[in-house]
Structure formats: structure tokens, C-alpha cells
Amino acid sequence: MASPSQQLPPGWAAEWDQTNQRYLFIETATGRSQWEVPMAPADMGNPASPSVSPPPANAPHSKRRQYAAGQTQAYYGATDGLAAAGPAYGAAAQQPQPAQLFTPGLAAENQFQQQQMQAQQAGYYGGPAPQAEPEYINAPGFGQAQAGPVNALADQFGQMNVGGPKRLTLYTTNLLTSPPDPRELHRPPPDIILPQGASLSPSPTANADPSYQRCTLNAVPVSNSLLNKTKIPLALILTPYRTLKEGDDPVPLVTDTVIARCRRCRTYINPYVQFIDGGNRWRCCMCNMSNEVPQLFDWDQVRNQPGDRWSRAELNHSVVEFVAPTEYMVRPPQPAVYVFLIDVSHTAIQSGMVATATRTILENLDRIPNEDSRTKVAIVAFDVSLYFFSMPSGTTESSMLVVSDIDDVFLPKPTDLLVNLAEARASLEALLGRLGDMFQENHTIGSALGPALQAGFKLMAPIGGKVIVLSSSLPSLGAGALKNREDPKILGTSKESGLLQAASPFYKTFAIECSRAQVSVDMFLFSASYQDVATLACLPHYTSGQTYFYPAFNASRTEDAIKFAHEFGEVLAMPIMLEAVMRVRASKNLRMSSFHGNFFVRSTDLLAMPAVPQDQSYAIEVQIEDTITAPFVVFQTAVLHTTCYGERRIRVVTQALPTTNNLSEIFASADQIAIATLLANKAVERSITHKLEDARDALFNKMVEILQAYKASMTAAGAGASAQLAISENLKLLPVLVLGLIKNVGVRQSAQIPPDLRAYAQALLTSLPSQVLVPYIHPTFYSLHNMSPECGTVGEHGVIMPPPLPLTSERLERHGLFLIEDGQTIFLWVGRDAVPQLVMDVFNLPNYEVLRGGKTTLPLLDNPFSQRVNAVVQKTREMRRGVYYPHLYVVKEDGEPPLRLWALSCLIQDRADVLPSYQQFISQLRDKANGSSY
């Protein structure tokens, strides 16, 4: 190899390395370097080639291909086979490599070669280092390689993503002629097509899964003016902490506390950085700073031997968790703390809330996260006074301490009120068992919720944790007392938004105090009458908690009790993140401009979250400050938190998106689900700061703007009037989602919606992750009586669901059975001409006349149809993330009007009262898009 630079394929450069006395080959496009001589693909068939290591040459493949790990391993077998077949290959394979580039000090030379190849070919997918396993030699890949080694190698190139990047193609549809198909809601967002070589790892997990983080645009415009031309908002929708259901991959954990971060912008190392300087330094993907690779980065600390850099999880996965070293701790990891504030006033006792709640806590004591036996629990009951319970460890006794001074709350005892769950288990169980009976005769009316909150806060302020409030009435005493401000006369008027604002500053200031002390508040509200959910929900909103509302809860109805017990139990069992702060970083010229969700914004862009529940969604708007020149940009979310098992960790979610200066590509890359999620957050915010009407108008106008922009720039019609209403195929459902939002309880125009329900709907709209939010604004509608025989039976992917129908009552048949659900409620609609056999099969009742509407539990009967219907209902309750357990209502076609109207309000494509039907909405949009001058 006298002067290798002359024989290099295009795009490669050779550099003499002084220390190793040999040439180093650098691919100029990606900055990747290797010792082996890179070759053009045509050379690969040449048996005289000095090396078998496939270089990332420019094989002209147009399609990106991903191979499963097993198949890649098959290629290792293939390489071995080649060594046997062609003597030149064999010689090269055995030739020892004198130096190692990425893992200095590695003993086994062959291992090094493999590492190089793996790094270039397949990455690790998080698995252990795959060796060429004998069984793979018989895999199909092996045979292929034998037949034609050139093809096999060419396939490997295909794998390396060397083909020219394909572009998103824009398909235009006419909204007037193509009605929305609900099945399209389940389509994945438009592909993220990164420039080749952007990622160090070809692993499919190198870019964030949309369930963790998604962007409204999967191709970021290079400038703000370009973005403004599309009128599509640029924002991130994130759920960094989502539940893992069966079959989901767990988040890989980096345990060796080696955390490589950019010195300047503090970005965590991720699959989009570049290694330079022979792998000794890395270039930050956000600010281009060159950083040193930490010394222990290539060291396997468990086995105390050189490790393989390419197998590190943070270079292969976009979602990773690091175990944090001491520098990330202000104090030792805190134990999880749960303080229950239980309303024991007359109404709470009478509704059976106290009994259900205590029983649920008792049943779920084992599910409360307590792996390291540190979890602490306290119970405080309140009506007009506060009742503390002292539970000394080692006894089964507990004593009640009453504090009736609610103006200046104090703790009656310094110790034994907040007790260790494991140690005080016996007394806790005894207390929970008789708490309901203790207050059985309590006729006190009134609620000192504010003082109870202060007491709970005092108990746990040194540590922080979670306060769980269970309250059945409007707070009426002490700090934070509220007045009944519900006034039916102002509902539906412009003054209504006042009812959605906090009535008392106490809850806001107290929330900030809580946030500082790492205390998070969850509200479980049960009142039958006005409870001012809007004000109370403030507290969870700013302390990263959640509000749960059970209007007119009555435990004597088993459905109510089951729903509450299920959801409460899930909340208790949920592994929470404690003492968390979240920050989103982005490439140069991108700035996080506004934040929506349940947290408190500390110091411009640091989101403080004392306790992060699972499946909470946050929306962050992004501003393009200056023209972006990079071919792709990176967004990185980092959540520093303490697990409820006493470990400080950092969860990092990295997402890379290509940039574009092409308008059609921007439109083609828009993610309608993410846009709808953002619009929901913005609409709620606007309805509180302005008026509900403004929120609806803003939604409508945004939709019009997008349509106008599309029409002006993407269609031939230009600015003139057009008979069509064009939008790109991937945004086709945005109008129906916006319509669903306008018709949602949280925003809808109506004089009938109690402010509590509205406030609760708004709390849901701003915190639900997209997966749950989309059905909430666009319910799912199935026809059950004529579903095909396999529906409701267990198939390959669990229970097979019937195909969803468009949300219009035209699809309701008089003899049919239908299911409408929005994730919070399930309606079983029974047509008036339902045959007795159907009623018999499903409800075990002789005919339609005897059937009663309302909340029910569906009986599980010994006939296939009942079992299938039950399976569909069950699947509906389980298929989404989150703790919600929807109520099931039976709705008779000629039943009580309120229930019927409620069910029908889910069919958002219909006209209801003053709200337009989908057709009307579309023609309004068209008139607006055509009418105004653009």
C-alpha cells in the first residue's frame, strides 16, 4: 500500500497516522475512519482484495434495508465460508491487524475485526455481542452468500444505507370528495428520512419511537419564513415516561456511570454524533463542538476488560437511561413518600368513597413501589378538622390525633405520623381496616382541604413525594376555601371562561411551594355538586400530578366502585419518577419557545416535575431563530430523576430530523396526530386566558390557514377560488381531528356543560398522550351485531377488533348493536328494533323493552356472541396506555334523552345543535380558504 490515496473510491481520503505508522482511511461525508483500505463495490469480487471487511462504499442502492440480527450473523458465517472458498479472503481474514482504532488495548484481534464489521453493518440492537453461531451457517443467508458472494456483499451495502436518500412524496387529496377513514388514524407518522451517514448506528431504535417523542413536522424547514409559509406549527410532543406493555422493549440502561456530554451545550452522546480524530474525540451533533471521549468509554467495568464502543446503548438507542454519578445529585436519592389526604365528611362517607378508597389502598399496599423497603406513608383524614394517625413501628396500634386549629396548621407529633410502609405495615393495615367505621357516624359537613394540604406538606416537605387527595366536597374552610361560583346563566356566554380559571390564588402559590419541596399532588374528586375542579386541578397541573374526576360517585353502584378502585389502584402501583427536571435541547438555531403540560417552568427552559407519573404528555413549541444550514437537526430530551427504587437516573430521548427547503416535503412530512395534540393544548390554554369562543375560532382559523397555505403553494389553483379543498394525504384527517376538538366537552359551544366536567375534560386534553388523546377527540365506533366471525376472538395480535366506522349516525341501524368509545367512556348502543335473540345473547334479557339504559356491567354469558362482545369491550379498556378504566353505558335508541344525546355527541361527523357536521365544516373551511385573499 504505497500510496493508497490514488486507489480510493470517491468520497474517501487517506491520512498517514504517525503513531501507528500506517494509513488511516476517512470517509469524508460521515467522518468515519477505518484502517482497512476502502474499495468501490466493483472491486469486491476481486479475489486479490486485501481485506474482507466491507467498506461503506457507495453502492447504488435506492432502498434502505434493515436486516434482523440473526441474518446479519448469518453473514458472519458467510464470511467464514468465503475464507474457506477463496484463499485470498482467508489469508486476509487471518492477517493480524496491528493496531486498534476504537478500543485500545483489546486483546483478541479477530474480535476487533468483527467489531468493526458489526459497527458498520448492523449495530447491536442492544443485544450481547453476537458471535458467528453454528446454527446460522445453515441459515438462508449463508446459502445465498455461497451462491454469489458479490450479491451478498452488495446486500450488505444496501444494509448500510448508502443509497441516495429517498424523499417523501406529496400526494394531494380533495377533502370534499374523500371522507375521512378512521382506520387511517392508526397509520404511523410520515417517515423520517435522514441523510445517509447521519446516524452512527443502523439500528432501527436509533431514532425515537413516536410514542416517546414526535414532532409535528418530520422534516424541519430551514428557516422561519419557510415554516411560516406552511402555517403548520412546529412543536414536539413528548411522553418520555410511558408504560411498557407486554412486548414493548424496555429502555436500555447504561450502568457504568460513564456519561459523555458536550462540553459546551451539555448534549448527551447519541447515535448522531461523529467520532473524529481516530475515535479519540467526538463532534457534538448540535453545536459542532469537538469533545474528548471519556477514558472509560471503551472499558467494560463489569468484566474489567476493554469493551466494545459500538455496543454501548447510547450509540444504538434513541431512548436510553443512564445511572447518574454523584455530580447529578443534590442529596442522596429520596425514598418514595405517599401522603393520603382523605375527606371523611358526611358526603364522603355517605357516597362510600372512604370505604372504597381505604379498601383499595389496603389491597394495593403490596403494589406500592417499595423495592428497597424505604417507602413512607402517612394518612391524614379531614373534615372541618384534621385527624392525624400515629403508627409507632412494631405495634398494631394506631392513635388518632385531632387538630382543630386549621388557621395555623401544626403537626401534633414530630414522629410516627409518616411511617415506613414495611415497618408499620401491621398498624397501617389495622388503621385502613377501620378508618371507614371510625367516621361512620360523622355528620360534619364542610371541608378543610387547604389546611389538610398544608399539613400533608409539612409532613413530607423534608423529603418530597406524592400527596394523594381524595375529596368529595368543595373546600369550605381555612386557606384555599372556595365559593360555589357555578352560575347556569353564564354558561355558554363569553364569561364562561372565568369559571375555568382558578378562583383562589392559594392553589397556585401552594403549587409553587410544593414544586420547590419536590411534592406532587394528585386529586381524586368525587362530588355530586359543584366542586370547582378548575381551581383544584391547578395543583396537579403545576406539580406534575394528575386530576381524576368521578362526578356523583356512589360506591353502591358497583360500576362506580370498580372504576375508581381500578384507576386508584393503578395510580398507587405506578412506578413514579421523583425529583425530576426535564430539559429539551436542540440543534443550533432552534429554540424551545413555549411549554404545555403538567409541570412548573423553572429558569426559562427547565421543567420541574416533583413526581412524574407514567403516560403524561407534554407539548413544546419550537422556534426557528435563524437559517439552519445542517442537513439534519437533533432534539434531545433529558429527564434527570430518582426512580422510586432509590436510584438517580437520566432518561435521554434523542430524535433526529432532516432539514428541508422544499415546501412540498414539509407538507408531506407533517404529522397530523402530533399537530392535533399540540392544538388541543393550545386551545385549552386559550380558552382559559381568553374565551372559549376564541379557542374554537383559533382552531378553525389555524385549519383555514393551513389549507390556504397548501392551496397557494401546492396546487395549481393558486390564490383564486377553487372547487376543491386540497390538502396532502398525510394531513387528510386533520380537519376531522380539529372538528373533534371543537366538539370536545372541553371546548364545545354549549350552555349545558357543567364547569366541572369542562375543567376535567380540559385537564385531560392537556395531559393525555397522543395514543389516548386521539380517541378522546375522535371516538371509535364499531358495529357489533354484524361483525365478522373472527372479530372478538384472539388472533395473532390479541383480540381482533372490528373495523372502525366513520363517526356518523347514518351508520346506526335500527336493529343493530354498536359500540362507541372515547377512551373514557364506552357506549353500547342498542337499536330499537334489536331482535330479542340479540338482547338475550348479550344482556341475558328476554327482549329490548326490558333492557334498561345506564351504567352497567356486561354479563359474561355462555354463548359465543356474548364472549366476543365482552372481549371487544375488554380490549377497548386495555389496549391503550394510561390508568383509565372506562365506564360502560347501555344506550337505548329510544331511551333517556340525555344519555342518548351524550352518546350521539361522540359521533362528531354529525350535526348537533349549533355544531356543524363534517360536511358543513369542510364547506365552511372551503369558503374561508377560497374567500379571503391570501
Partner: protein
């Protein structure tokens, strides 16, 4: 009164466990915790196994046992005997619970669950006066069981940190000897 307790690995000062303190304690002790960290860094294999270091209104008592350093920040007036008796008790319990794993852990605060025991023990060693006043005389009992802790090196934080004194026992002995010459 026992204010705060820290347990670290002697070889690399990796925190193993610590008491979870409230915000107020955290603030008042901030400086002293920093000092404790400096002390941990100065511990060498031949450091004095027991030492009390005075620092402002507090005294830092530490004890090294089986490669683990136990340090308590206590009021200056808190009896040294009690402090070391407390540390002794912690070290015994810690050794039986986690002794074998100490050398292998890499993440900080790996044994933070020890704080439950620390909290309980610290309560037994509460302020001498309140204990006496309550008549429960925990401390009396403890006093009886106390071992002889008179031969404990005493240092001043200032000397240690700013004048570059070391914690080596040999050195200390030498100095003592030198003084008595």
C-alpha cells in the same frame, strides 16, 4: 445532636449511603458537607481509623471500618463517646447487611436503603438533654454500654484543610511524640 450521617467507600470516596435530610438541615450543613467530602478525599490506607474534626459549631466524627468510612456531623456539644458509639453501631449493621457488596458497586448511593436503619438509630442517640428530660434515659443506658473511646485523634478542620495536615496515624503519632519530647 446527630445532624447528618454519610457513609462512603474509603478507597474512592464513592457515597454508599446517607441520611435524607430536610431542606433546612441541608442548607445549614452545606459547608460542612463540603468539608466532609474533602475529608473523604484525604483518607489514605494509613489514615487514623477514628478521628473527630472540629468545624465551627459542629464536629465531624468519622470511623473507618473494613474499607468503609462512616461520618457523622454532630453538634459540637454532642458527646464524642455517643457519636462513636453511634458510628460503631452503624458500622456493625452495615457490615452484616452490605459488607460483601461494598467493593463491587459502582453507582453512587447503592445502599441508600440503609437510611431506614440510620434514621432509627439516630433517634436513639437524640440529644442528651431531651433524652434525660423525657426520663427515658436512652442515653444513660447507652452510656453504660459505652466503650472506651478516649484515644481518638482530634483535629481542627482549619488545620486539616488549610494547613495541609494529613490524617495519617503514623504522622499523628510522630507529631504527638515530637511534642512530648
Amino acid at each position: 445532636m446527630v445532624r447528618s450521617t454519610l457513609i462512603v467507600r474509603a478507597s474512592d470516596a464513592l457515597p454508599l449511603a446517607a441520611s435524607v435530610d430536610d431542606e433546612q438541615t441541608e442548607q445549614t450543613l452545606q459547608e460542612h458537607k463540603q468539608q466532609a467530602k474533602l475529608v473523604f478525599r484525604r483518607i489514605t490506607p494509613n489514615a487514623e481509623p477514628r478521628c473527630s474534626i472540629e468545624s465551627g459549631p459542629y464536629t465531624l466524627h468519622y470511623l473507618i471500618a473494613d474499607g468503609v468510612v462512616y461520618l457523622v456531623i454532630a453538634d459540637k456539644s454532642y458527646p464524642r463517646k455517643l457519636a462513636f458509639s453511634y458510628l460503631d453501631e452503624l458500622s456493625k449493621e452495615f457490615l452484616t447487611s452490605y459488607g460483601a457488596k461494598v467493593e463491587t458497586v459502582r453507582k453512587p448511593y447503592a445502599f441508600v436503603s440503609f437510611d431506614t436503619f440510620m434514621g432509627k438509630t439516630a433517634r436513639l442517640y437524640q440529644d442528651t438533654r431531651t433524652a434525660n428530660a423525657a426520663g427515658s434515659s436512652h442515653v444513660d443506658k447507652l452510656n453504660d454500654e459505652l466503650q472506651d473511646v478516649t484515644r481518638i485523634m482530634t483535629k481542627n478542620m482549619e488545620e486539616l484543610l488549610w494547613r495541609g495536615d494529613s490524617l495519617d496515624s503514623a504522622f499523628a503519632c510522630f507529631r504527638r511524640d515530637a511534642l512530648s519530647l
